[in-house]
């Protein structure tokens, strides 16, 4: 047999195999299933509402709130400084630079935490860093930050501090149950400035919990 015949035979066999197997079984995803499972179980993607509120009140430039609900819901209510990337647009190329970057801390949020978590799962599997999820979503945010419940009778200092912080944060963001706050604090509620003062006082407390 001539060399060309050998070549023909080998190339034809290989080409036939490649033509018959299903196309492109490689994953564009960077993390293996096991790595994902480990991260999901550890819950490292979650940021507590208190931490987020603290950063928002301080106007921390290192965070970017990302609302993954639809634009209608976003227009009705959104967190200060948030931008809207509906979940169905999460893979669009226009958002690539925003989601795959190494400087800011992106925090996804939705009404619950499901949609935000879905956004995080997708971006994480693509290997993007610095994306997080607001724990409990907006519903939990309402409960904890905008309308904090006063602690019960048997309370620790930590709990009081946390409650104070939440009240102050709520006030700073102009939301929630302002009437429940003491009159002296309620007066300047409209401006963000008084919010800053109590928050700094509470920072230690939020570190404690």
């Amino acid at each position: 047999m001539k060399p060309l015949h050998y070549l023909t035979l080998i190339l034809m066999i290989l080409a036939l195999i490649i033509a018959l197997v299903p196309q492109n079984t490689t994953r564009p995803y960077k993390l293996t299933a096991l790595q994902m499972l480990t991260e999901i179980r550890a819950g490292t993607q979650f940021v507590s509402p208190d931490e987020v509120a603290d950063k928002i009140v301080k106007k921390d430039p290192s965070i970017q709130m990302i609302d993954v609900r639809n634009p209608r819901e976003f227009d009705m209510f959104s967190l200060p400084g948030a931008i809207n990337i509906p979940l169905q647009d999460i893979l669009s190329e226009t958002n690539f630079d925003l989601l795959n970057q190494g400087t800011k801390m992106n925090i996804f949020y939705s009404n619950g935490s499901t949609e935000a978590n879905e956004a995080w799962l997708l971006t994480r599997q693509l290997g993007y860093q610095n994306n997080y999820v607001l724990q409990g979503g907006l519903n939990y945010w309402m409960e904890t930050i905008l309308n904090p419940m006063p602690p019960g009778n048997v309370i620790s200092n930590d709990e009081i501090a946390r409650y104070d912080f939440r009240k102050a944060a709520s006030m700073a963001m102009g939301g929630g149950n302002i009437s429940a706050i003491a009159p002296s604090a309620a007066a300047p509620a409209g401006t963000p400035k008084p919010g800053v003062v109590p928050v700094q006082k509470k920072k230690k407390a939020s570190g404690g919990c």
Partner: protein, 196 residues
């Protein structure tokens, strides 16, 4: 896993080192296949020597099958492999200029360096011309910019355009390549040239 450099499995320096080693291997194979002879290269256009066509088509088909198999085994993520963007007009114009230079000079850019490496004067003159062309293009870039950037197509795939899977298209291309090999054998017999 792959591409190695993109996924940070090897450092950029290792990447350059590997490119260096592969480059030497490439040059060696070119030289050993006789590509440092301008007569052999020009033979493609006169029909007496089709080695150039055979070598480059074999190289292309092998790389294509290799990448598809690597992708199948999950060794390389084809989405991360960089492909030069296509600008259709400049590809056609550039192809014509390159082809004309190929026939006239008897070298393509890579083989001219091969020839120069073993001391061929015509190859060195060819490289000189190549650099004149490069400077002409670089300094005249504002003149060529519109032409250069017209008909941008990003990174199209013929398989996508034909609505075929990559595997089926690869199969067709292998059949075409093999057909060309047999045709080349026939052409070589038809236009023999003993001495060069």
């Amino acid at each position: 896993m792959g591409p190695l450099a993109v996924n940070d499995i090897i450092s950029p320096n290792t990447n350059f080192f590997l490119a260096f080693v592969i480059g030497i291997g490439f040059g060696f194979v070119l030289e050993q296949s006789g590509f440092s002879s301008s007569r052999k290269l020009a033979g493609l256009f006169y029909g007496y020597d089709m080695v150039v066509l055979k070598v480059f088509f074999t190289g292309g088909v092998t790389a294509m099958l290799g990448l598809l198999f690597f992708s199948l085994f999950g060794w390389v993520d084809l989405n991360l492999v960089y492909v030069n963007p296509t600008f259709l007009t400049s590809a056609i114009v550039g192809g014509l200029i390159m082809g004309a230079g190929f026939i006239m000079g008897g070298f393509c850019p890579g083989t001219s360096f091969c020839g120069a490496a073993i001391g061929k004067l015509d190859a060195m003159i060819f490289i000189l011309g190549l650099f004149i062309g490069v400077y002409f293009f670089a300094f005249g870039y504002p003149m060529f910019e519109t032409l250069y950037k017209s008909a941008p197509m990003s990174s199209p795939k013929i398989s996508t355009m034909l609505n075929l899977s990559d595997g089926v298209f690869a199969f067709i291309l292998v059949v075409v390549a093999l057909g060309m090999f047999y045709l080349a054998e026939w052409v070589e017999k038809k236009f023999p040239r003993e001495e060069y």
